[in-house]
Symmetry: C2
Subunit: 246 residues, 2 copies
Amino acid sequence: MGPVEVLTPALEDYLETVFLLVERHKFARVRDIAVERGVKPGSVSPAMKRLADLGLVKYVQREYVDLTETGRVAARRVLARHTVLFRFFRDLLKLPEELSESEACAMEHSLSSATMDRMVSLFEFLDACPQSPDSLLARFHQCPIANADCEDCKPGCEHEGAGVEATNPLSELAAGERGIVVRIGSHGAIRQRLLNMGMLPGTELTVERYAPGGDPVWIRLGTSQVALRRHEADALHVKALAPEIA
Amino acid sequence: MGPVEVLTPALEDYLETVFLLVERHKFARVRDIAVERGVKPGSVSPAMKRLADLGLVKYVQREYVDLTETGRVAARRVLARHTVLFRFFRDLLKLPEELSESEACAMEHSLSSATMDRMVSLFEFLDACPQSPDSLLARFHQCPIANADCEDCKPGCEHEGAGVEATNPLSELAAGERGIVVRIGSHGAIRQRLLNMGMLPGTELTVERYAPGGDPVWIRLGTSQVALRRHEADALHVKALAPEIA
DNA sequence: TTCAATTGTAAGATGTGTCTAACATGGAGG
DNA sequence: CCTCCATGTTAGACACATCTTACAATTGAA
Ligand SMILES: [Mn+2]
Ligand SMILES: [Mn+2]
Ligand SMILES: [Mn+2]
Ligand SMILES: [Mn+2]
């Protein structure tokens, strides 16, 4: 097909950069755009030419770049998406500023209107809901289950003994038994590894067999099999399920 | 630089597809991969060749494609990211299944380990926290503030009169006054438009001036200016701020 | 066994986004 | 007036991801 599409991610980023530069100074120069985007000036010229062809910027070669009205609208949309994601990462998930920035800027290009809408609704709800008065997020941010540092005693969260009722470490399941992942009681590398293998809360698994001594234990996830070390299997909190009715 | 990089998004998607096909049948064929990815077979061959060069798949031309052990690990990682995002969109934000799928598959490629980790923590917290026993999400999903349908009466949420104390529609601000966006009391197209202009909760703005009759009202956001129609300005709930100390 | 349909590969083209290196332009200083 | 330097532009190269179209291999019916 022809170029029926919207802007490419790269062009959206250029547009965003131009918008911010025009806000800061009164115009944007090729040099500054290049610096801002971490790219060589030779890459910027043709990009500006394409944006100009699309009617989004006014590009006077060798002089300056400015946004058209259409361009300003498009840029604001990109920036709004960027901002929603950034706040979600930084303020809700409490990720570092830098990471939040870069990840927002990578994802903004595929964020649909509907999704942005719902994310904003979530913010509005968390702000407004009187039944979790300013505390829900605080509780999340202090919850020992959800935070690596301070393994035990954060005030304001009493999970221990509450949701943990039916939960065992995976290694308490016998060979052949099934379970559903409830949470990963571990942080850092072990957690990473478990998550990357697909051990997400809600995932169903079957214990295939234990090696003698119980150290490697083989787990079936769907049709494929993975091997867990003992300390990984201990970190994995599961709820036992009735045996499979195959 | 050389190819120090990780997999490109397209290759990750191919890998994911191969993984799923191998799970379903016992192997993957070029044809099926092409169908699954919505791409022509002629595009698949070279991609498989590249994955084979990277040691991620075993590719016997004209016969079948299978994953190597390294490939399986990489594929599971992609899939785990996909799944976390998918559940966030579908189960937490309550977006339609289809949208959740496609958006997850677009974003998975730039989801960092740290971010996935924190998203899973959020799930774990919401599941486990005894102080919001299974009800926080339910409250979000029923909250009239956060939902278009049923504008008024959802039981279990009493926002009216609670967080709304210091909030006015934007159109009650006089020219020159400043405010901070608290929420957008509107749904559908109007909301979309306001969000796309950058009117997110927390955004600071200044009322520049009203047209005679008050219909278009000009708002300053940072250094740039936008015009709002009356019904848009009415939908925008703001908290008045002290006048700017410029 | 023979041959048509199915499946896959090769080669060439297009578009995007980047780089580098060579070249152009326009002051500011001499 | 001339020359240098900062800034920009061009052109050529490369990598990726896709498409088409032409050709090859396999398979399963007739
Ligand atoms: Mn971006
Ligand atoms: Mn951005
Ligand atoms: Mn994907
Ligand atoms: Mn995916």
